[in-house]
C-alpha cells in the first residue's frame, strides 16, 4: 500500500520538522533552513519559527508537504517470527524438548547503570502487567545487575552453563551501546566454540532491531519489549517452535 503523511486531509503529505543550524539568525539563515527542508523533500516548506540561541546558532521549525511516498509493502522490520506463548506453554515446551531448566544470564554491561529495563524483563515483578522471566518455573535466571564487565559476564555465563545471555544497553551517546554490544559478542566468540556459545540477546530503547547481524548477536529487542515476547523467543530459538 502506498501512503503519504496525513496532516489535515488525505494525501496532503504534511510533516513538522525542527532543527538548529550553527549560524546566526537572518534572512540567509532562514533560506538555509528552507534549503535543508527542500533537500529532505519538503515542498512547499513553510518556515514558521526561527530563534537565535546565543551568538551563533538558530533554531527553526518548519512545516510542509513531503513528496516521498511510503510503500508499506517495502517496510523492513523484524516481525515476530515465532508464536507468542503463555507462561504455561513456555514451561511445557522447555520441559518437553529440553528436559531441563533453561539457563538465562542477564546483565547491563559496560558502565551503564540502567537496570530498570533488564529488571523489567527478568525480575518477578515484570512490566506492563506481565511477570518477568523469574516467574517461569522452567527458566533459571541469574541477574548480574548493572555495570558488569564483559569478562565477568563471559565467566558467569560459562559457570552457569547459560543457554542464553541477555544484555541491556540504555546509554547510547557516542554509540556506547553499539560498541559495548560488539565487544560482548566478540568476547563470546573468542571464549567459546560455536556450538557451546549461548544465544546472545541484547535489548534497550534505542536499538535498531535490524542490526542483529551487524552486532554479532542473535536478536535485538527494543522499546516496549515485554517478558513474554522474550520467553517465547527463547523457546523458539532454543527448544524449537512447538507445533
Amino acid at each position: 500500500m502506498i501512503i503519504r503523511p496525513y496532516g489535515d486531509t488525505t494525501g496532503d503529505g504534511m510533516v513538522q520538522l525542527s532543527f538548529t543550524l550553527p549560524i546566526p539568525h537572518d534572512k540567509r539563515a532562514e533560506g538555509a533552513a528552507l534549503q535543508l527542508a527542500g533537500k529532505m523533500g519538503m515542498d512547499p516548506a513553510m518556515l514558521v519559527h526561527a530563534k537565535q540561541m546565543g551568538d551563533g546558532y538558530t533554531f527553526f521549525v518548519v512545516y510542509g508537504k513531503v513528496n516521498h511516498l511510503v510503500d508499506t509493502d517495502k517496510v523492513h522490520v523484524v516481525e515476530r517470527d515465532f508464536p507468542l506463548l503463555s507462561a504455561k506453554e513456555v514451561n511445557a515446551a522447555i520441559k518437553r524438548r529440553l528436559r531441563r531448566r533453561l539457563n538465562v544470564v542477564g546483565a547491563c554491561i559496560g558502565t551503564d547503570a540502567h537496570t530498570v529495563g533488564i529488571d523489567a524483563i527478568l525480575n518477578l515483578k515484570g512490566i506492563a502487567g506481565e511477570k518477568g522471566l523469574e516467574y517461569y518455573s522452567e527458566l533459571s535466571v541469574t541477574n548480574m545487575g548493572a555495570q558488569v564487565s564483559v569478562p565477568d559476564l563471559v565467566e558467569t555465563a560459562r559457570e552457569k552453563k547459560a543457554d542464553a545471555v541477555l544484555v541491556s544497553q540504555v546509554v547510547t551517546q557516542r554509540d556506547a551501546h553499539l560498541q559495548n554490544t560488539r565487544a560482548m559478542s566478540a568476547a563470546f566468540r573468542e571464549a567459546l566454540p560455536a556450538g557451546r556459545r549461548p544465544l546472545l540477546i541484547v535489548g534497550g530503547p534505542r536499538f535498531d532491531e535490524l542490526m542483529a547481524g551487524e552486532l554479532g548477536v542473535d536478536r535485538i529487542f527494543s522499546r516496549g519489549t515485554t517478558p513474554r515476547e522474550v520467553a517465547s523467543y527463547l523457546v523458539h530459538a532454543l527448544a524449537g517452535s512447538p507445533a
Binding site: Y6, G7, D8, T9, T10, M14, Q16, S18, M46, L47, V48, H49, K51, V61, Y63
Partner: protein, 511 residues
C-alpha cells in the same frame, strides 16, 4: 466557586442596571425593525425548503418577490399566506417557485386575519419540529449522559469538506471531546443566503448548511452511543443569516451556536442595525430550541490588548447577558466568551488571566462561560505553544470555566491537524486529571482580587459612558476591539426595514 473575589454585590447590581439601560435602545431598535433574514427564517419555519438551480434558496427568492411588491414592513407572512389563498397553491415552496418565476404578485389584505392564522399554523408546525428536536436532545442526554467533568472539552474541526470533517469529529469525540464545532468557510458570514446541501469546498472552514448540520449531527449521534456520552455539536449563527441559521440549528438539533452581533459588526463589517435585529430573533429561536449560545468577546482581545481592554470584555458580556435574557434565553444558555490572550511576556501574566477569568466566573455564576485559548501570542514555536495551552487549561480549571475551547499548538500555523487535536486533548486530560481540583487550593490574594475589582470598576465607568452616548456610538468609536464601525455603514443595511403598524410575525407570537 463563588465568592473568592469578594465582589461587592451592590457594585455588581449597578453594573447590571447600567447594562440594561445601555442595551434598552438597541432592543427597541430590534423590536421595531425586521430584516430579510428574519423574514426568511419565518418562511423556513413555515415550510419553504430547497434552492433554485443556481443554489439560491427559495426563501430568498420568495422574500425578494414579496419585498419588491409590498416591502418587508408588514412582515412577509401575511402577504405570502394571503397569496397562498388567492392562488390556491398549497405548498409554500411551490409558491416561492412561482413567485420567483414572476407568476405571483403579493399584496397586503385589508383584513389580514385569515392569512395570519394560516401563517401561524404553518410556522407553529416548524416550531413544533424544533420542540421535538429539543425533547429528543433531552432524551439522548438522559440516555448517554453528560460529560463527567467541567469544563466541557470543545474542539474545532475545519477541513472545509464535510466528509473529511465527519471522521475527524468522530475521532476527536472518541479521544475525549464533549463538544465539536465545525467552523465555517471564511466567506460565509457575508453571504446573504444560506447555502444548500452537503459541501466539500470551504476555505479554513466548512459551509454551514442544513444538510451539513444533519450529516454531522447523525454522525455524532452514532459516536455518542459508542462513547456513552452525548457529544454536542456547535456551529455559527453569526453573520448576515443569523435568524435562518439559528432556525436550521433548531431543526437539526445542534446544541450550541456561536451567536453574537458584535463579532459580525467588528470583524466582518456587518451593519450594526441589521445584525442587532437579526440577533434578537435568532436568540428567541435559540431560547426555544434549548441551544446554548457562545458569544464572541474573546475576539476583541486579538485586536485590542488583553490587559488594557479587559473591561471592554466585561462590558460586552454584561450587555450580551441583557440582550440574551431579553430574548428569552436562560442563564444556562449563556456561553459568554472570554479568552487567555494576555501577552505571556508580561510579569504576572498568568495571575492576571486568573483575575479576568474569575471575574467573569463570579459575575455570571450560572452561565457556562466559554473560555478561549491563546491565539494572538501563539507563534510557530509549537513547543512553547503546547506549554501556553497547558497553562490556559489550568486557568480554566482553577476558575471553573464551563466550556474549554481546546487550544492547538499550531495556532499560528495551520487550521488544526488531526495530530494537533490529539496532542491538545492529551494536554487537557493531563491538566484536568492532574490539577483539575487545584481550585480547592486556590485562594486569590490581594493581587488577583485587586485586579478583578479594578476591571469591574473600569467596566462600570465605560458602561456609564455608553449609557450617555449610546451603544451604537460606542461601537462607532472603536470601543470594542479598536474597530470603528459606524451604524450607517457596513454590510447588509439594505436588508433592514422598519416595521409598519401592522407588522406581523407569526413566529414571534409563539416565542
Amino acid at each position: 466557586m463563588a465568592g473568592k473575589l469578594d465582589l461587592d454585590a451592590t457594585v455588581v447590581a449597578r453594573a447590571r442596571a447600567l447594562a440594561a439601560r445601555a442595551g434598552q435602545p438597541v432592543v427597541d431598535l430590534a423590536r421595531s425593525h425586521t430584516t430579510v433574514s428574519v423574514e426568511r427564517a419565518v418562511l423556513r419555519l413555515a415550510g419553504v425548503t430547497g434552492a433554485d438551480p443556481d443554489g439560491i434558496p427559495w426563501v430568498n427568492r420568495l422574500v425578494d418577490a414579496v419585498r419588491a411588491d409590498v416591502g418587508l414592513g408588514h412582515g412577509v407572512a401575511v402577504p405570502v399566506f394571503h397569496a397562498m389563498e388567492t392562488t390556491g397553491v398549497e405548498d409554500v415552496t411551490v409558491l416561492a417557485q412561482k413567485a420567483a418565476a414572476g407568476s405571483v404578485r403579493f399584496t397586503v389584505p385589508a383584513a389580514p386575519g385569515r392569512a395570519r392564522q394560516r401563517a401561524r399554523r404553518a410556522t407553529a408546525a416548524g416550531l413544533k419540529r424544533i420542540d421535538r428536536r429539543r425533547a429528543e436532545r433531552d432524551r439522548l442526554i438522559k440516555r448517554h449522559g453528560d460529560p463527567k467533568q467541567r469544563p466541557w472539552i470543545y474542539l474545532i474541526v475545519a477541513t472545509g469538506d464535510i466528509y473529511e470533517d465527519i471522521p475527524q469529529a468522530q475521532a476527536a469525540a472518541r479521544a475525549g471531546a464533549d463538544v465539536i464545532a465545525v467552523i465555517r468557510s471564511t466567506g460565509q458570514s457575508l453571504l446573504d443566503y444560506v447555502p444548500e446541501g452537503a459541501t466539500r469546498e470551504g476555505f479554513a472552514g466548512t459551509y454551514a448548511t442544513q444538510e451539513n448540520f444533519r450529516l454531522m449531527r447523525a454522525a455524532l449521534d452514532e459516536t455518542s452511543k459508542e462513547v456513552g456520552r452525548y457529544v454536542r455539536l456547535t456551529n455559527y449563527a453569526s453573520g448576515l443569516c443569523m435568524p435562518e441559521i439559528a432556525t436550521l440549528a433548531g431543526l437539526e438539533r445542534l446544541d450550541m451556536m456561536l451567536n453574537d452581533s458584535m463579532y459580525g459588526i467588528l470583524f466582518r463589517d456587518i451593519n450594526p442595525i441589521r445584525t442587532f435585529v437579526d440577533q434578537r430573533f435568532s436568540r428567541q429561536i435559540h431560547a426555544r430550541a434549548g441551544i446554548v449560545i457562545n458569544t464572541g468577546e474573546d475576539n476583541y482581545l486579538t485586536t485590542a490588548d488583553a490587559v488594557e481592554a479587559a473591561h471592554t470584555v466585561t462590558v460586552s458580556q454584561l450587555m450580551n447577558e441583557y440582550f440574551a435574557h431579553e430574548a428569552g434565553l436562560a442563564d444556562w444558555q449563556l456561553g459568554l466568551g472570554h479568552a487567555f490572550e494576555i501577552n505571556p511576556d508580561l510579569p504576572d501574566s498568568f495571575r492576571l488571566e486568573l483575575a479576568h477569568a474569575l471575574l467573569a466566573r463570579e459575575l455570571f455564576p450560572d452561565a457556562p462561560l466559554k473560555w478561549m485559548p491563546p491565539t494572538k501570542h501563539m507563534t510557530g514555536d509549537v513547543f512553547r505553544g503546547n506549554l501556553l495551552d497547558g497553562f490556559f487549561n489550568l486557568a480554566g480549571a482553577l476558575t471553573g470555566q464551563g466550556i474549554l475551547l481546546v487550544g492547538m499548538m499550531t495556532e499560528a500555523v495551520v487550521t488544526p491537524w488531526l495530530s494537533d487535536r490529539d496532542i491538545a486533548l492529551q494536554n487537557v486530560r493531563y491538566v484536568l486529571n492532574g490539577a483539575g481540583n487545584l481550585h480547592e487550593d486556590f485562594t486569590p490574594g490581594p493581587f488577583i482580587r485587586g485586579r478583578a475589582n479594578q476591571v469591574l470598576s473600569e467596566a462600570i465607568d465605560l458602561l456609564e459612558r455608553i449609557v450617555d452616548d449610546g451603544m451604537l456610538n460606542a461601537i462607532a468609536d472603536g470601543t470594542f476591539g479598536i474597530m470603528k464601525r459606524p451604524a450607517d455603514r457596513g454590510k447588509g443595511l439594505d436588508g433592514v426595514e422598519k416595521q409598519d403598524e401592522d407588522y406581523y410575525n407569526p413566529v414571534v407570537e409563539d416565542l
